[in-house]
Symmetry: C2
Subunit: 308 residues, 2 copies
C-alpha cells in the first residue's frame, strides 16, 4: 500500500441533465479522485482550496471515507470554485453555463508534510505551473506522476505544459486533446508524439467509447460499460483517474500489465459514477458492488480463442 497525493479542485457544481437538475452540490476533480481511490483503502491526501461557504459535512464525509483533507486550505475570505453545466440529450456534449473561479484564482497548493513522500502523485487539471509547484514540494521523487490536463491549458500555457510534461510518467487526456497536443489525428500516432514530450504512458479517455493505454509499442483498451441509463457524466473522467491511481497505489506495481488492471478498475468505478447526480453514487459504493461489476467487465471483454 503506497500513499497517494491528489491535487485538484474541490468545488460546487450545479448540473442539469435530461433527467433533472441540482442546486450547488459537491464536486471537483480532487473530490472525485479521492472518492475513487478510497475504494482501495489507500491513504489519499487531497490538496485543494475552498471558501468559507464550503460545507463542514462534506469534509466530514471525505474523512469518513478515509480521505486526508489536511491539504484542503479553507480561505475564510473567499468563495468555493463553482461550475454549472447543462448536458445535451446524448450526454456526450455539454454547455458550461457558469464558471466562478473564486478561491481557485490564486490557488497555491501546499503539500502536507505527511504526503511529501507519496509514491503516487495525481496532478489534476490545473495550470501547468501549479502542477509543477506540487512536484517541487516533494521530498522524495514519486514512483509515478500522473497528470491530467485539457485543451484550455494547451491554448493559453502550452510552453508551461511542455515543461511539466517532462516530469510526468502518465498523462490522461481525451481523444480531442490528444489530437490537439500532438497534431496527429490517429491516436496511435498521437500517443507516439506525446511519449516524446515526456510521459512514458499515455491514457486516452474516450468517454462512452472507453479508454486506451499506450506505452511505447504496447496498447491496452478498456471499454466503458454499456449502461441502460447515464444519469450524470460529471466526474466520470476524474473517477476513472482516481480508480487508476488508487489501484496502482494499493498494489504497488506500476508494470504495464498491472496498469491494464488499473485501467479496468478506473473504467469500473466510472461506470458507477454516472449512475447518479454528482458524487452521490460514489459516496455509497460498496466493495461488493465493485467486485460484481468487475465480473461484468470480464464477461464483456474476455474471450478464449485457441490460436493454432
Amino acid at each position: 500500500m503506497s500513499k497517494l497525493l491528489a491535487v485538484g479542485t474541490v468545488a460546487f457544481d450545479a448540473i442539469e441533465t435530461p433527467f433533472g437538475k441540482t442546486d450547488k452540490i459537491l464536486g471537483g476533480s480532487g473530490t472525485y479522485v479521492g472518492l475513487a481511490a478510497s475504494q482501495f483503502g489507500v491513504e489519499t491526501g487531497v490538496v485543494s482550496v475552498v471558501g468559507a461557504d464550503f460545507l463542514d459535512s462534506d469534509i466530514k464525509m471525505m474523512n469518513a471515507k478515509g480521505i486526508n483533507t489536511d491539504g484542503i486550505e479553507i480561505d475564510p475570505n473567499g468563495k468555493t470554485f463553482f461550475w454549472s453545466g447543462k448536458y445535451h440529450n446524448d450526454m456526450n456534449s455539454r454547455d458550461t453555463l457558469i464558471t466562478e473561479l473564486n478561491v481557485l484564482e490564486h490557488f497555491q497548493p501546499v503539500v502536507p508534510e505527511k504526503f511529501k513522500d507519496a509514491a503516487i502523485v495525481m496532478l489534476g487539471n490545473l495550470h501547468p505551473l501549479t502542477q509543477a509547484s506540487v512536484l517541487d514540494q516533494m521530498t522524495e521523487k514519486p514512483k509515478l506522476v500522473v497528470l491530467d490536463t485539457m485543451n484550455f491549458w494547451m491554448d493559453i500555457a502550452l510552453d508551461d505544459l511542455h515543461t511539466v510534461l517532462k516530469r510526468v510518467d502518465v498523462i490522461t487526456i481525451n481523444d480531442e486533446e490528444a489530437r490537439q497536443l500532438s497534431g496527429e489525428y490517429s491516436l496511435v500516432n498521437a500517443a507516439k508524439k506525446i511519449h516524446k514530450m515526456g510521459p512514458k504512458y499515455v491514457v486516452i479517455k474516450k468517454g462512452e467509447h472507453g479508454a486506451l493505454l499506450f506505452n511505447e509499442d504496447k496498447m491496452f483498451f478498456a471499454p466503458a460499460l454499456p449502461l441502460a441509463e447515464v444519469f450524470d457524466p460529471t466526474g466520470a473522467g476524474d473517477t476513472f483517474a482516481g480508480g487508476f491511481c488508487g489501484y496502482l497505489a494499493k498494489t504497488k506495481d506500476i508494470s504495464f500489465d498491472n496498469m491494464k488492471n488499473a485501467i479496468i478498475y478506473g473504467s469500473n468505478l466510472a461506470s458507477f459514477c454516472v449512475e447518479k447526480f454528482g458524487t452521490q453514487r460514489m459516496e455509497k459504493l460498496t466493495a461488493n458492488e465493485v467486485k460484481e461489476r468487475l465480473n461484468a467487465f470480464k464477461q464483456l471483454t474476455q474471450f478464449d480463442i485457441e490460436i493454432s
Copy 2:
C-alpha cells in the same frame, strides 16, 4: 465446416480518401463478405448480379479464393452497380458522389441448388423483400440467419424490414441505425427493443469504436484495433460481418461464447481491410497475418485481475 450463403452486392467502387483516389475497382458487400469468409476455408456461395462490364478476372480471383460464384448472375444487357464516395479527413464520415443501381434495380436473387441447405445465411444490405426472397428459397431452415441493413430501408420499407426481421437470428447495424430502428438512445435499451423484433442477437457496429454483441442480458465488446493509418474504410463493415459468419461456419458452434470469438475475428479481418484501397489487402491476406493480429487483439483486451 458448414456452408455459408452470402447475398449482397458485387460492384464497382470509385473511392477518394485523403491518401488518394481510385478508378472503378472491385467492391460490394457480397465481395467483401466472401473474401473475409474465405480466410476460414469455408464453402461460401455469393449470390448477386453484375453487368456485361464486369471483369472476368475478378470472378477468377474470387474462385481462386474458394468463393463459389455460381449465384452471381451476369446480365448481358446491364451495367454493374457503381458507387463512388469521398471520405473526409477523419475517415469517419463520407459523401456519396455517385450511386448507379444499374442491374441491381431489378435484382431477383436466385440461390444455387448447392447452397439451398446452407447452415449460415448472410443477408447483405438490400431491400428487405429481396432479403426475404432468399430465405424463401432455402430447402432447409438455416441454423443461423444474419441480416445487415441500413437507415435507408428503415426510411422507405420499415414494414417489410419488420416482417423479415422476424425470421432473423442476428442483425448487424451501426449505432445510429440501432437508435433509429428502436427509438432508444442507449444502445443497451436499443438492443432490448430490437430483440423483441425478432433477432436474438444484435451486433452494433461502431466503426473505429468497435462492436457490441447483445443477447438477452449478455453483452460482449470487441474494440477496433487502433491503427496508425486508416487508408480506406470501404468494406470494413462487410468484412467484419464476413469474418463473423465465416468463423461460425467453420466452427459450427453458434453459442454466445463462440460468437464472442466470431466478433473478434470480424474485428481482426476488418482491421486489415482498411489498410489498402478496396479489396486489395483482403485479396493478399495470409493466415499467418491473421494469427499474429489475433495476438495483438489479445494483448489489447485481455487482463488478469484476481477477484478476491
